[in-house]
């Protein structure tokens, strides 16, 4: 019945990495809905198919903020194809797990990243 946040979640919540906007982002992805209590925007800079910079803005609970923070760290420096493979489960695992009820609703970062990559590819269609 353990429904509490791990130390890792707390660390990323209290000291979120890569917070902010990238004004001249190559791709931007937003998921979530304020009515449900979670909105996430991910900004990426891409060079040679590599994510060279990534930032996020998140409205949501501690899980939403922590998953945003860790996901940005996981994605930075990755090839886009590799980054697309990051799943919600990967994110949760990297954080040492999430409370069951948070697993689905607040764990949106991987989705936002996929949206950002999609946005980048749309803009940069060959």
């Amino acid at each position: 019945m353990d429904e509490q946040y791990t130390e890792m979640v707390k660390d990323h919540f209290f000291n979120p990495r890569n917070v902010g906007e990238i004004k001249d982002a190559d791709g931007v992805g937003t998921v979530g809905n304020p009515i449900c209590g979670d909105v996430m925007t991910i900004y990426i800079k891409v060079k040679d198919e590599i994510i060279i910079d990534i930032k996020f803005k998140t409205f949501g609970c501690a899980a939403a903020i922590a998953t945003s923070s860790i996901l940005t760290g996981m994605a930075k420096g990755k090839m886009l194809d590799e980054a697309l493979k990051i799943t919600r489960d990967d994110v949760a695992n990297e954080l040492g797990g999430l409370p069951a009820i948070k697993l689905h609703c607040s764990n949106l970062a991987a989705d936002a990243l996929r949206e950002a990559i999609k946005d980048y590819r749309k803009k940069n269609k060959r």
Binding site: I35, G37, T41, K57, F59, A62, I101, C105
Partner: protein
């Protein structure tokens, strides 16, 4: 890190004097109060003395109090107890219950269950401050209405409902009136006779008593069906061995509550108003609940573009314990029904913060909260895609 507790609405520490009073009943006077030997009799006497003290805080008679395990059970016993009396005993009444949209789950979930098993329930809406409309209440009463159950004071936004008027209408229409007074006891003077209250739920752990103890006031002459069947204590209304230390603790808490209420009210209101005044200086912050008709210890806010669980955990990181009506902090992941009922949009309800004060809070506590909060709100807004400034 020093910690500051501002969540007295969720639970209170047990008062030192209450603990002292309870202690001997764990391993000295441990007899079963129903036993005929000396160990039983000394426990029985303590239970009955406590009954007087508990009745006293709401100006009731001691033989009108039934002990329970807490506010939730008291609410259940009140509502089901009246409803499950067979129809004949309820008189010519039908199956209609009137309640409000902002009740505590102890009442609300019970009412939903009553609907499921065939009763009809009217959930009165509230205005933007959380008040029911007396006219609407009166209009809702039909010949089928046997119960009005409306809370004394709301646990989230602190709004105090018009008890006297409700009691008067209930009496005029010969309808039983139950009130969940869990948040009001000790913070609002209560006289069940003046207010025409027939049933009243109270809980120990909100008034510096131990958890796991509560009581239901049952006006003499009002008949209930028990919901915990057994040996038949409490005139058959509630079975199970008396929780002697719990009852004694609740008794002492009520005694202290009665003595201290005036001082408490002035003291808490003063701290509360400091909180409200200073917190509302934050940009796009709003007070929820009624500006005047509110519990002396309740301050409830919302802040645009941030989410309550995060806000509360950030405060927790600074040692401050508070609460929120945010969906994310609840197991059901739904925004507070109270905040929605006062007309907030879900995204507004998410950004809520409840600070509930208690006897142990000081001016310094308030100053610390007021100092720390703006920066946290700012940090979260800086992180929020909904805050574009």
């Amino acid at each position: 890190m020093e910690r500051i507790y501002m969540d007295y609405g969720a639970s209170t520490p047990v008062d030192k004097e209450v603990i002292e009073e309870m202690m001997p009943y764990f391993d000295k006077f441990y007899g079963n109060p129903s036993s005929i030997h000396s160990f039983g009799r000394e426990a029985f006497d303590a239970v009955e003395e406590s009954r007087k003290k508990i009745a006293d805080i709401i100006c009731a008679n001691e033989d009108e109090m039934v002990f329970t395990s807490g506010g939730t059970e008291s609410d259940n016993l009140a509502i089901k107890g009246i409803a499950f009396r067979n129809k004949k005993k309820r008189g010519s009444k039908g199956t209609h219950i009137i309640t409000s949209a902002i009740e505590h789950p102890g009442v609300l979930t019970t009412c939903k269950y009553m609907e499921k098993i065939g009763f009809n329930v009217k959930y009165l809406p509230v205005d933007k401050h959380g008040l029911i409309d007396i006219k609407e209440l009166e209009d809702a009463i039909s010949k089928d209405t046997f119960l009005i159950t409306i809370m004394f004071a709301n646990n989230e936004i602190g709004t105090i409902e018009p008890m006297e008027k409700i009691g008067k209408i209930a009496k005029e229409h010969d309808v039983i009136f139950h009130t969940d007074a869990v948040q009001a006891v000790g913070k609002v003077p209560i006289d069940v006779n003046k207010l025409n209250i027939d049933l009243l739920a109270l809980s120990s752990h909100k008034i510096y008593g131990p958890k796991g103890a509560g009581a239901l006031y049952v006006r003499n002459g009002v008949k209930l069906q028990t919901i915990v069947h057994g040996g038949g204590l409490e005139k058959g209304l509630r079975s199970s061995t008396y929780n002697t230390p719990g009852v004694v603790g609740l008794g002492k808490a009520c005694e202290l509550g009665k003595i201290r209420i005036k001082k408490d009210m002035v003291y808490l209101k003063n701290l509360r108003d400091m909180l409200i005044k200073d917190i509302l200086k934050i940009e796009e912050s709003y007070l929820n609940g009624h500006p005047e008709k509110r519990l002396v210890n309740n301050a409830h806010f919302r802040f645009t573009a941030i989410e309550g669980e995060s806000l509360n955990l950030m405060l927790d990181g600074k040692g401050i314990a508070a609460a929120t009506g945010s969906a994310c902090s609840s197991k059901k992941l739904q925004a507070s029904h109270v905040l929605l009922a006062i007309g907030l949009k879900p995204e507004e309800a998410h950004g809520s913060l409840r600070l509930t004060l208690g006897r142990m809070n000081t001016k310094e506590d308030v100053e610390y909260v007021v100092e720390v909060l703006p920066e946290i709100v700012q940090n979260l807004r800086n992180m929020s895609p909904l805050w574009n400034r």
